[in-house]
Amino acid sequence: MTAAPVTAVPKRRLRDRIPVVHQLRQSVGLQRGMLVTGLVMLAIFILTAIFAALIAPYGFAQRADASGSFGSQQPPSPEHLFGTTVGSYDVLSRVVWGTQTAILVVVVAVILSLFIGVALGLYSGYFGGWLDRILVVICDAIYAFPSLLLAIVLSIVISGGQSSLWGGVLAAAGSIVVVFIPQYFRVIRAETVRIKAEPFVESAKVLGASNSRIVFKHVFRNATRTLPLIITLNSAEAILTLAALGFLGFGIEPTAAAEWGYDLFKAQSDVTSGIWWTALFPGLAIVFTVLGIMLVGESLNDLADPRLRGRRRVAQAAGEVAATSVVPGGALSAGPGGLSGLEDGETFDEHGIEVKR
């Protein structure tokens, strides 16, 4: 046996390993268009929330400035680009400030449900037993609840019907958390059950590793790859739930924070009298934000699956021939195009087609 000459393996660069950036570089064609559109929309949403104070011409609860009251239901004008509401608020300002409330709900909801759902899923999937069975039944039961009903009940419990900023946010986030935990729980549990049977977990067991070491070192990190996708989809749903709560009148008082659903609720009667601007702009804001998040989520989903992922067509008889393991001990490169071309867990099968192992 002659030691095979060692070629330096190019490390995968950082930008190839960050979840979304990696997918962006990998995508082509329509999928790339979708992802880029979604990312741009998301970026506008987040930037608006951060710089709301600079962008919005007035405060979200401001009804008058130095030159007097704004006036109720004024059509769009140079002073009020999107007009004013029945309560004399500036529509543009409330749309801009509304992004902050939306982000707050998304962050609180996702973080809470993520931690609880993942922890329960890992435990339940790895150890099984009676606790696992009970948790699965509870999660199934929660699916049967209409989430909005749950949200209404929670908003009454948390804030007693009085809607402050945090009361409203926590009510919306709380209800979403309850509905989302089963999603994280199920995904992580299913992955854990699958990974538990993988030989590398068994080999850790044979080595005598403790359960906590196996769970955190070997199972957890391998179980999380679908999480970015669920997070994006859940974020969109969180915003919709907050808007629905506001629309039903359980939202946040206009003096506490700007909230799109509440503005839509107050704009109901305006629509019949031909006042379109009070409903249109908050509505568009909801659509814009949810669409952006959904686009990102959907394209991440497509890109995660090698069968759905689009690729550029290759020229005839192009490319390098895949190295065959003929030298004793096997070829040095994992795949043509260098080792960095292969993703985690993917390799080339005997057809030369990239497959997941």
Partner: protein, 562 residues
């Protein structure tokens, strides 16, 4: 004989994330009517892609160049498969060319009867009535050797055994009487004894039906048994093409020579085992055994109320210090179960199993954990036995960290480097991730991990069955060297008699959970006494067409004697 298919200057490339990959560079082949052409090669040589091109089964990411001219049985129609539309392709498939897949259990749809599935092909092409199609299905099932075809035509795939399923798949391919059958590793998923039967059937396809066969395989024994002509593929090219006798007797290309040299033969290990036995001290047999099984019984629990499944029943064996016991058997014989029981992964339900003086029947994980540092385990599939998110060095360091020999992976690095060197991997490979290594390299890293704590016992569960033959030879050689150097006792589990023969001091043959024969390699393989062992041995195709023809006769006699 007329040419059935002619491949001219075929080139195939695939679009992947890593850019273009060329699977086939420039291949020209032709198959005459009633001839068996074997395409041999290792993983990635392009043999399956060649076969799929004949049927126009390549995925959309493929770009093709060249021509594949397919002639029908009568020689009245010629088609270039590459330029056919999807509709035209459907007409050609089934009538002119048919396919036999590798895994019969996934090639059949579990929710339809086999008769329905055979008739589906008939009705898609012919204008047969339901009744006629059914009669034809029954006839073809009978011809491929399914007993009671009138009754079994209405059975579902799960009611057939693996070998019978493959017969049904072949019947499906034969029913439209195509001039050519493409068989992609038709026996790889089957046990050796079943493999021999399927090879017989394929030979009958050629002789009775006059069908030409393109046989894709990596098994040189299968080639010697069935093929008329052989094409050896390597890295997308045909490196050698010759008739089967010439190829085995006088291989021309270096690659073919290397490939043939790497194939293990039964009987090669006997001398080595005798040498080792002679070198042992006289009081060796008096030493306490590392593993001792007495009436070992393992039952997998059944579902509610159902009786459990007995995987192993009443097995006795011994492994003494420094001895390699080869455990051979077909799928379902319980060989893996025994290995897992010794490693504490499967519960022992009856009898006695002593591992390093600990009784495994009823042992608790907490009591067994300290013993684990004295046992190593090598898994079958090197691809999945490493955590994909840890580097090779971290994986190999795991046992050292777990048993407190090192504080973390970095501290264990010096020892890991030594281990990697012991298994002949360059140190720098420690920084790679498992998927960046080839199969053989990964299995060597797996050996390094198993040996990290210098165990007294190493359990190797089919360590080479996922590897190509030349890689397998290398890993087996390494295993023998390491065994000599470290002197561990070992349970070596395999379905391949030739592989076990190379390494084992003693061989135990399992059949349906019971031990049917045990002894040294010379005893078991040289003069087997049990009829099952005899059949198993005779079923194993040897990579030599002349010797194989003799063995075939012997196997036929054995079968008739049963």
């Amino acid at each position: 004989m007329s040419t059935v298919v002619e491949i001219r200057n075929l080139g195939v490339s695939f679009a992947t994330d890593a850019g273009a990959v060329k699977a086939i560079e420039d291949v020209s082949l032709s198959v005459a009517g009633g001839e068996v052409l074997a395409i041999v090669g290792e993983s990635g040589s392009g043999k399956t892609v060649t076969a799929k091109t004949i049927l126009g089964l390549l995925p959309e990411t493929a770009t093709t160049r060249g021509a594949v001219v397919l002639t029908n049985r009568e020689g009245t129609r010629e088609n270039d498969v590459i330029s056919l539309s999807k509709h035209q392709l459907r007409e050609v498939r089934g009538t002119d060319v048919a396919m036999v897949f590798q895994e019969p259990s996934t090639a059949l749809n579990p929710v339809y009867t086999v008769g329905w599935q055979i008739m589906e092909g008939l009705r898609a092409h012919g204008h047969l009535s339901r009744k006629e199609a059914r009669a034809k299905a029954i006839e073809i099932l009978g011809r491929v050797g399914i007993p009671d075809p009138e009754e079994r035509v209405d059975h579902f795939p799960h009611q057939f055994s693996g070998g019978q399923k493959q017969r049904v798949v072949i019947a499906m391919a034969l029913v439209l009487d195509p001039g050519l059958i493409v068989a992609d590793e038709p026996t790889t998923a089957l046990d050796v004894t079943v493999q021999a039967e399927i090879l017989d059937l394929l030979r009958r396809c050629r002789d009775e039906f006059g069908t030409a066969i393109v046989l894709i395989t990596h098994n040189m024994g299968v080639v010697a048994d069935l093929a008329d002509r052989v094409a050896v593929m390597y890295q997308g090219n045909v490196v050698e093409e010759a008739d089967v006798h010439t190829l085995f007797a006088a291989p021309q290309a270096d690659y073919t020579k290397a490939l043939l040299a790497a194939v293990p033969y039964v009987g090669h290990g006997t001398a080595r085992a005798a040498e080792r036995a002679a070198a042992r001290p006289t009081n060796w047999t008096e030493q306490p055994a590392v593993v001792e099984a007495k009436g070992l019984e393992i039952v997998y629990p059944g579902r509610f109320g159902r009786p459990g499944f007995q995987a192993v029943g009443g097995v006795d064996f011994l492994i003494r210090p420094g001895e390699v016991l080869g455990l051979v058997g077909e799928s379902g014989s319980g060989k893996t179960t025994i290995g897992r029981a010794i490693a504490g992964l499967t519960r022992v339900t009856g009898g006695s199993l002593k591992v390093l003086d600990a009784e495994m029947n009823g042992i608790r994980e907490r009591d067994f954990r300290p013993l684990r540092s004295r046992i190593g385990f090598v898994f079958q599939d090197p691809a999945s036995s490493f955590n994909p998110l840890l580097t090779v060095a971290e994986c190999v360091a795991e046992p050292l960290v777990i048993h407190g020999r090192a504080r973390n992976a970095a501290a264990a690095r010096a020892r890991v480097d030594d281990l990697l060197e012991a298994v002949q991997l360059p140190r720098a490979y420690g920084d790679r991730y498992p998927h960046e290594l080839s199969g053989g390299q990964r299995q060597r890293a797996s050996l390094a991990r198993a040996l990290a704590l210098e165990p007294e016992l190493l359990i190797a569960d089919e360590p080479t069955s996922a590897l190509d033959v030349s890689v397998q030879a290398r890993v087996l050689e390494l295993f023998a060297e390491l065994q000599h150097e470290f002197g561990f006792a070992s349970l070596f589990i395999s379905h391949d008699l030739a592989v076990v023969d190379l390494l084992a001091d003693r061989i135990a043959v399992l059949y349906h959970g019971a031990l049917v024969e045990e002894g040294t390699g010379a005893e078991v393989l040289g003069a087997p006494t049990d009829p099952y062992t005899q059949r198993l041995l005779a079923s194993l195709p040897v990579p030599d067409p002349i010797a194989q023809a003799e063995r075939r006769e012997e196997l036929r006699r054995l079968r008739e004697a049963v």
